[in-house]
């Protein structure tokens, strides 16, 4: 029972409290770049969820069962970037071949994920924090779903921003950043969410 609670708490905490974009700053590039329209943000978010969960599932055993006994822990970044990049290409290959409809919504964002800081950030973060398998899986799921939630919410706001009459100098990116700051402020309010539960 205790493990299940920690697992769920892990997911919620890395999704809401320690959000990947607003407090850990992984993945700002697509967050600012792809969130112009809600449809593209949704496509990017789902693609990122897919890749992060798969990457966490592969990277943890790769590190703990292969790199650690072989005493080449320093090669973890090289291994992770290779895993993530080949994962992106294989998933893209699969989607390109078998489901054109999925390619229409998801396919064009896949090459962007290789340079998405969130994916490598989560994999490297799990290793640096030496989490066990369940916690790193929870971290992966929470981070990716948090990224999806944040980028969709942000794109909805940004669609409204286009029609708002912002000052000329603030049009485009600056006003988006100020909105992100207000969102970060809101998410900072969730900091003490779990202080009461003693698990």
């Amino acid at each position: 029972m205790n493990i299940l609670i920690t697992f769920i708490l892990g997911i919620i905490s890395s999704m809401l409290i320690d959000n990947v974009v607003l407090s850990r700053f992984y993945g700002i590039c697509p967050f600012l770049g792809v969130s112009k329209k809600v449809k593209s943000a949704l496509g990017m978010g789902i693609a990122v969820v897919f890749v992060i969960v798969l990457a966490t599932l592969i990277c943890w055993p790769l590190y703990n069962f292969i790199l650690v006994p072989a005493k080449i822990q320093f090669l973890d970044t090289v291994a992770y970037i290779l895993v993530i990049a080949s994962l992106v290409q294989l998933v893209g290959l699969f989607i390109k071949k078998y489901s054109p409809s999925l390619y229409k919504t998801l396919g064009i964002y896949l090459p962007l994920i290789t340079t998405n800081c969130a994916v490598l950030g989560v994999a490297q973060g799990n290793t640096d924090q030496a989490l066990d398998f369940l916690s790193s899986l929870a971290n992966g799921i929470g981070t990716s779903v948090g990224f999806l939630v944040i980028i969709v919410v942000f794109s909805c706001i940004r669609v409204r921003l286009e029609s708002a009459n912002t000052p000329k100098a603030f049009k485009g990116l600056p006003i988006a950043l100020i909105t992100a700051a207000i969102m970060a402020m809101a998410f900072m309010g969730l900091q003490g969410l779990f202080s009461g539960i003693n698990v």
Binding site: R24, Y26, C29, T77, V78, L173, A184
Partner: protein, 247 residues
């Protein structure tokens, strides 16, 4: 690539102002927001980033003829990952304080858009010396941009500047400008990072609009002056013609 005289200088200065990777092309924003809590961390991150950028630019432009067209990106990723691992090991060994402050963001240089972007856009097409200069230019431009961000964030956030806790070989030195209780600690939090970055981009956009308006104003005056000249010439011509008829 035309080799006019000032090309190298212009190539270097391009990275600093005209194509500043952070403020103009808005790339590499992940480390920019995260590691600019203090100027020391920004300088440390900038130095590590510049080293990786210079080495990867040089090696990629060395091998540019060897690497076949189709597998350009995979080989670039491997080269950049190698240099990042080397830099990470060296920092872990000789600058443990900087390593623990930057944490994951040293490994995130691998996915930094600037390094891969410069490799594909510049290093794969130019000779070694130009790529080397371009690497330095971009690196120094990025470090300068990080320091500007860190300057505002640290000054407003902690009320002063502290040196010596990351680079431990410098004696500890704290310059407190805003008195202790009156600084806005919000600026060291992520919220402050977004605000400072947004405001800097807004000021630059404002300056750009101002210049564009001034240019447009000059052109309009230019056109008016030309129109008046043309009218004056036509009038002079018209006055001159009746005199000939009279003769």
């Amino acid at each position: 690539m035309s080799r006019e005289k000032g090309y190298t200088k212009q190539n270097f200065l391009k990275g600093l102002f005209i194509e500043n990777p952070l403020f103009i092309s808005v790339l590499g924003t992940c480390p920019a927001l995260a590691t600019t809590k203090s100027i020391e961390a920004a300088i440390g991150m900038g130095i590590l980033f510049t080293i990786v950028l210079i080495c990867s630019n040089t090696l990629i432009s060395l091998l540019r003829k060897l690497i076949p067209e189709e597998i350009r990106t995979p080989s670039y990723i491997v080269v950049i990952a190698t240099f990042v691992t080397i830099v990470k090991m060296l920092t872990n060994a000789f600058l443990p304080e900087l390593y623990s402050t930057l944490g994951v963001f040293i490994s995130l240089i691998v996915v930094n858009c600037i390094v891969l972007g410069r490799a594909e856009a510049f290093a794969s097409k130019n000779n070694v010396f130009d790529s080397f200069i371009d690497g330095i230019g971009m690196g120094v431009g990025y470090t300068m941009a990080l320091c500007i961000m860190a300057f505002f964030r640290e000054f407003l956030g902690t009320g002063g500047f502290a040196f010596g806790n990351i680079f431990t070989f410098i004696p500890y030195f704290k310059l407190q400008i805003i008195p202790k209780g009156y600084e806005i600690s919000l600026f060291t939090t992520p919220v402050g990072a977004f605000i400072v970055f947004g405001l800097i981009l807004a000021v630059m956009a404002f300056y750009k609009n101002r210049k564009a308006e001034y240019q447009a104003f000059l052109q309009r005056k230019e056109r008016q002056r030309k129109a008046e000249e043309a009218k004056a010439k036509a009038a002079a011509l018209a006055a001159h013609k009746p005199v000939e008829e009279a003769k």
